[in-house]
């Protein structure tokens, strides 16, 4: 759809898709995120890395307001998607989440058939006017998620009966089905074996054409393989953010260097 062929060259020029400004997140009295500023480029993959407990998931969840479901969680600062503040009172978080989809660490298909898993989102949002349109959405989502060939003959079997890797791709397909613009992924491969991981990484690389993707990962190799930009978090602070190859070959901050060379974390 877009005329832009290469993101790498264009990254400094394009208008950013998501821009966060002085974001603070508190769990009760605990501050989990401090003063995070970041610009996330459209139609590219950005990875968040950092030691456990540094706030990667917390920050990721602010982008689709999933933190609203946690009672004690409070967010300050501004996060804009397409220049619109998503914490503005007139924004409906439920609508927002249709635009900013999410894939979780552990595959969590609903205890429904494969078909109904995919059709769930489109049904709630009224994206299909009839059964034929719904069928189209389901098949195209499964195709985009690279799962169609494996499941086209068993769409009415329960989604929980698939392998872990298939389940995770099903969850990605489920997120795609509501045509989001942004897809957030929180350690999507941590429960998968290397082959399933490779498939999901390949999928992420393909999805980058149409979606803005933010992925949290503990695997440096994975960040290097799939992402164009990388952000390193430490103790709730965004330490460094830049082109993935720069972060991994030429980090500016000592802490980043220590982390990627495996000296802590």
């Amino acid at each position: 759809m877009n005329e832009m062929p290469s993101i790498e060259q264009a990254n400094e020029m394009t208008e950013s898709k998501i821009s966060a400004n002085k974001v603070q997140v508190f769990y009760g009295d605990n501050q989990a995120i401090k003063d995070v500023d970041i610009e996330i480029q459209p139609r590219s993959v950005t990875s968040f890395i950092g030691p456990s407990g540094c706030g990667k998931s917390t920050f990721l969840r602010t982008i689709n307001r999933m933190n609203d479901t946690i009672d004690i969680c409070r967010v300050e600062g501004s996060i804009k998607i397409d220049n619109e503040d998503i914490y503005d009172p007139k924004v409906d978080p439920v609508q927002l989440r249709a635009k900013v989809g999410m894939v979780f660490q552990k595959p969590n298909p609903f205890p429904k058939s494969i078909y109904d898993n995919i059709a769930y989102g489109p049904r709630i949002h009224g994206l299909a006017r009839n059964k034929a349109e719904l069928d189209d959405i389901v098949s195209s989502s499964l195709q985009k998620a690279g799962l169609w060939e494996e499941v086209k003959n068993r769409l009415d079997e329960p989604g929980t009966g698939m392998s872990g890797g298939q389940q995770q791709r099903l969850c990605i397909a489920r997120a795609i089905a509501v045509s989001p613009e942004v897809i957030l992924m929180d350690e999507p491969c941590s429960a998968l074996d290397p082959i399933a991981t490779a498939k999901v990484e390949e999928l992420i690389d393909e999805l980058r054409e149409n979606y803005t993707i933010v992925i949290v990962t503990h695997s440096m190799q994975q960040a290097a393989r799939v992402s164009q930009r990388t952000a390193f978090f430490h103790l709730g602070i965004l330490v460094e953010e830049g082109l993935t190859e720069d972060i991994f070959t030429n980090p500016k901050d000592k802490r980043t260097q220590d982390y990627i060379t495996g000296r802590f974390g």
């Binding site: 009672d71 989440r97 999410m102 969590n108 609903f110 769930y120 509501v178």
Partner: protein, 490 residues
């Protein structure tokens, strides 16, 4: 010797045995704790255990066996001729026991000397008056064979008790002696005590199981007895319930169907009230309520479960019944004759079941993994969409199990029905009519002067058995479903 003293004596022997066993172990090790196999207290406990267990076992067996023996002897003393027409040996024996108890009390109040009570042979009028003076109810003048039997009964029991006391104390002493003797530094007292504790726990568990078996067996035998007097097909398929207490109940019609119908009708009304309300309350508490509301509302709801059902019965009788009557009665719609009706009992029983349904469903809803909710919210679903389309379907098997458990409680409920539903056994569709249930009829068959040989009383066991089978079936299905559901997320 009163039982209480006997028990105290055994306990005292055990206590002394404990101290002796302990000190003997200490001294056999020369005061070196490390030379002992077990801690000193284990040696004491070993002795105490070996005193208490055999002594109390003997005591229990004796207490169970003695009445059998005495009854047998007494029964042999009563000549066939002294059993009146229309009476039975059992009734005469009961009279003997009453007379014996009367003599006991007369002695205790000073109306007779012990000597007199034992040896009086003649002058029954005098004995009868003395018994009456002592506040004993004597139906008619006491007769020769009964008096003789009663006197023998007292003697037998007194000697029996004496021998028992001596035997128990001897066993306790002997056991203490033996256990202290085997105590030495090498003796593995700790292992023996461990075995003993295990045995006690097993005994406790088997008592529970054995009693259940006993209850079921007594139900089965009495039901069997009933079916010998009354045809089973008439019982299970009869459409009329009209027990007649005259003429030993031979003209009774004891069809269970009207009672089962009442039971199910009331239970269905109750479930129609309890299931939606309980389920919605559970959904609110687990998905919507904040921690503060939850902390207050959940215990409050569960307090409802602690109210005795008789209180609900009163509520039905005094509040709900009149309220319904004022709306549907003759001043209102005119379809309700009296305050007691299926509707009254059903509504109140429904209220009783709300906390039951809601707390079970709450547990089940909470067992649905958070990941399921996240997945749904992450797709832009609202709370109620998530509840309806993800959480409830995922929790459905468990909720069905909870409903079945609630149904089996409704079927077994008695007090609310006795007070709220009326007593008429009726096959009708109008929920504003009085009907009655199996449980309520069991109560009414057995209260009053029930003669346990007639079908009108024995039918209670057949009713109980039917109820037992139905609720057992429901519970098994429900527990199976709930367990299967649990496995799904473990």
């Amino acid at each position: 010797m009163p039982l209480f003293w006997l028990i105290l004596i055994v306990l005292a022997i055990a206590a002394v045995g404990y101290v002796l066993g302990r000190s003997r172990a200490m001294s056999s090790a020369g005061g070196e704790l490390s030379a002992l196999h077990s801690l000193p207290s284990y040696y004491g406990a070993n002795v105490a255990m070996k005193v208490i267990v055999p002594a109390f076992l003997l005591l229990i067996v004796w207490l169970l066996a003695q009445p059998f023996y005495v009854n047998n002897v007494i029964s042999g003393m009563i000549p066939e001729t002294s059993i009146a027409e229309g009476s039975s040996r059992g009734l005469v024996l009961a009279e003997v026991r009453r007379a014996a108890r009367g003599l006991d009390n007369a002695v205790a109040t000073g109306a007779m000397t012990e000597e007199f009570a034992r040896n009086a042979r003649a002058d029954f009028a005098d004995i009868s008056t003395r018994l009456r003076d002592a506040g004993q109810i004597v139906t008619s003048e006491i007769t020769q064979p009964i008096l003789r039997a009663a006197q023998r009964y007292r003697v037998l029991n007194a000697t029996g008790n004496l021998i028992m006391s001596i035997a128990v104390i001897l066993v306790a002493l002997f056991a203490a002696f033996w256990a202290i003797r085997e105590t030495n530094a090498e003796f593995r007292a700790r292992n023996v005590v461990e075995q003993g504790i295990k045995a006690i726990l097993i005994a406790a568990a088997s008592i529970a199981i054995l009693t259940t078996i006993g209850i079921v067996l007594s139900l089965v035998f009495n039901t069997w007895e009933f079916f010998r007097l009354y045809p089973a097909s008439d019982f299970f398929f009869g459409l009329t319930w009209s027990p007649s207490f005259s003429g030993r109940g031979s003209s009774s019609q004891l069809g269970i169907l009207p009672l089962l119908w009442g039971t199910f009708y009331i239970s269905i009304v109750a479930l129609l009230v309890a299931v939606p309300i309980g389920l919605f309350a559970a959904v609110y508490l687990s998905e919507y309520a904040g921690p503060k509301v939850r902390a207050v509302a959940k215990p409050l709801l569960e307090v409802l479960a602690g109210i005795p059902t008789i209180v609900y019965g009163l509520f039905a009788l005094l509040t709900v019944g009149p309220l319904l009557l004022s709306v549907f009665g003759n001043e209102g719609l005119g379809i309700m004759q009296a305050g007691t009706a299926v509707m009254t009992a059903g509504l109140v029983m429904g209220i009783m079941l709300i906390p039951f349904v809601s707390s079970l469903s709450d547990d089940i809803i909470n067992a649905v993994p958070q990941a399921m909710r996240d997945g749904s919210y992450g797709l832009g679903a609202t709370k109620s969409e998530t509840v309806r389309q993800v959480i409830l379907p995922a929790a459905l098997p468990g909720i069905v199990g909870a409903i079945l458990l609630a149904a089996s409680r409704a079927i077994g409920e008695t007090m609310i029905v006795v007070l709220g539903a009326g007593a008429a056994a009726r096959l009708s569709l109008n929920p504003f009519e009085a009907m009655t249930t199996v449980t309520a009829k069991i109560v009414s068959q057995l209260t009053g002067d029930a003669d346990f040989a007639s079908p009108v009383a024995l039918v209670a066991f057949a009713l109980g058995m039917t109820l037992f089978v139905i609720t057992l079936g429901l519970n098994i299905v429900a527990l199976y479903i709930v367990r299967k559901y649990r496995e799904q997320y473990d």
